[in-house]
């Protein structure tokens, strides 16, 4: 794996490398080299299979991290290519020309994280969310699930709730303090 990374380094500036297991490595490159590095790994290093494309919301750092997890079926090796992108603009080049399945991942990331992949088919089309979905992308960490459900769904008739400390006051010391 080390040699693969070394060869990759000759082509693209690698900013971080983690040798997680003998058969699993993560490397990070700058956004502008991301798709090219993935294409290189696919075409020249035998990582012909896309396992997944996913994102992590580094809210505090103002960035999203994209991971293209690739598999070399012959060598039985995995490599995760990571790219950090700005959270504010949230835009990345599409890689759908490399594998048709990328379209689906990019559609999902577009819907759930609000990351756009210009040129990728089905951007802006609903993936798993309801047609009526009004809220912000729900996988973003600042998405407040509870607030959204309180605002969006009306309470079921007949439901009522009791605050434990208020209830105890009423039952145990009604005279108050």
């Amino acid at each position: 794996m080390k040699e693969i990374v070394n060869r990759l380094k000759e082509k693209f500036p690698v900013t971080a490398e983690i040798y997680q297991r003998d058969d699993l490595t993560f490397v990070t490159v700058e956004k502008k080299y991301g798709v090219d590095a993935v294409a290189y790994l696919k075409e020249y290093e035998g990582f012909t299979h896309l396992v997944l494309l996913t994102a992590v919301d580094w809210l505090e750092e103002g960035e999203f991290q994209l991971t293209y997890l690739l598999n070399n079926p012959k060598a039985k090796h995995d490599i995760g290519l990571r790219v950090r992108i700005d959270r504010e603009t949230a835009e990345m080049q599409t890689a759908h020309h490399l594998w048709p399945a990328v379209t689906t991942y990019e559609q999902e990331l577009n819907e759930m994280f609000g990351i756009s992949f210009p040129g990728s088919p089905r951007q802006g089309h609903r993936f798993i969310l309801d047609e009526a979905w009004q809220g912000p992308p729900p996988y973003r960490r600042d998405f407040d699930t509870k607030k959204y459900s309180e605002e969006t769904y009306f309470p079921r008739p007949g439901r009522s709730k009791i605050d434990p400390s208020e209830h105890m006051k009423k039952k145990l010391y009604p005279e108050g303090m």
Binding site: P164, S165, M177
Partner: protein
Amino acid sequence: MSLKDVLMPFTAWGNLFKTPVTIKDSRNVEAAPRYRGFHMNDADKCIGCGTCEEICQNAAIDLVEVAGYEAKDGDSGLRPMIDYGRCCWCALCVDVCTTQSLRLTNEYKWISSDPEDFRFVPGVDEKHWNNRTEGYTKMDGYDLYSTQRVEMGELHAEERDKSFVEMIKGYSLEQAQKEADRCVECGICIATCPAHMGIPRYIEAVRHGDMEEGLRILYETNPLPEICGRICTHKCETVCSLNHKGDALSIRWLKRYIADQVPAERYKEILGTDKIVKNGKKVAIVGAGPAGLSAAHYLSLMGYQVKVYEVQEAPGGMTRYGIPEYRLPYDMIDKDIDYIKSLGAEFQFGTRVGVDVPLETLEKEYDAVFAATGLHLGRSTRVPGSDHKRVYQAIDLLRDVSYGKEIDLSEKIVVVGGGNVAMDITRTIARLQNKKYGKVGVTATCLEAEGSMPADDEEVIEAREENATIDPGWGPQEIIVENGEIKGLRVAKCLRIFDDEGRFNPTMDMENQKVFEAEMIVESIGQGMDISYTDNIKEKLTFGPRGRIQVSPDFQSDIPWLFVGGDIIEGPDVIHGIANGHKAAKGIDKFLKGK
């Protein structure tokens, strides 16, 4: 579109009369052992803290009243009802459950045509999966909040056993916020605190680093936060929901943290008490202990002119004259009380009401009187020899130490008693002996067996760390006196303390006796009250059990102008005194406004 495309769907009709290929699954395979299905709650273990409701991101949980469960200390009596129209089986409720009473069974197949059936109280409503043991339970070691309290820095036994320097160091900001972060804000503690302090709110203020807001919350119900932050009996921590699976929140230390952070000179500005409009009415308070001080504080805020009469030379009552300095430094008592003084309350020290000033004079000169004179008379064991001059009362010795008087020590001293006062005098004696003789020779003994001593556990542990001997489970029989000198205390093994009727009536094993060698004995088996100042009006008062004056919920006696509270009514402890004083202040205000 070709003709084939149009006709294809109709070919399916050909299968209409064939035997179906789908079959009923007769294997009836159960879900995986950790599958997340319908909830099950151990309703007896659940305390209705509502943390499950709070964490539920889908608002699927409501705390509701259920038959058979009533609100009591440490239990709201409510139980969670779950709306399966909203539940997404994420199991956050299980992971956060403070008692671990809530789990998910692996049953997920259940059919009913009535949607209302899918809203029920798990563990209370009968469901066929209630006995199912498989399912999702919280994993050990996976906790959404820390189960361990942030450790409090203490002086080591060697550093503290010769000195009266405060042994608890207090939290840093980082430690306090980390500890405050453990609070689940259930509020179960509020009902148990005699003063019903806004505990979750001031803990939240610590979390946000807003000590000014914290101080305001403390003063709503407690005008002695430096004192309570150190020596409160913290009943709140006993019922803390975190106590069920881990350490209770350090509520007392966090209270202390808030008060310690705010300098005394900023109190008036923060609490908004710069200008108080006087109402022209006067109230006398007898006793400058926690109850009297609390009443003085709240009455002063309401505009009353308050004067506190105190027999000792300084205010604080038992907090100053009973609790040793290593637990509660005098400057901290002063910080709390100086603020109350700054609100306009006057103090007259060295004055015993009933002797120096008759109660009748107070009645004439004031609109109302609040008497909170406390328990300052030591009780004797009355065993033979207990009238010897080297037999002392713990409370008298502790008072002498507070006054800086020298105690006539011996190298071997026995303390009779197992409560906190007994531990206070034992540890005080240990320090004094260490200073004088370079070694400790004090033994405390009491009727109660190991593990059921009335003192707080940490007091017993720390006393032992300081080389005092604690030998519980013995009943005193005789103080052995030879040639006018005390030689020791003869004790017999105590078999039981209470009789079948629950009365105090200790039984001893007279075959099992021993002698604790000693030249001096200190008795610490409880305190009594001196309310002789009411002698002239006694016939107008009603007395309850143990000679306590009967009072209304406002702490008003049968004589309308006389309010009574503190240890002589309830407790004994500081926080009851504070609560009594606050209620009495409100009662006095109600009484005088109605006049």
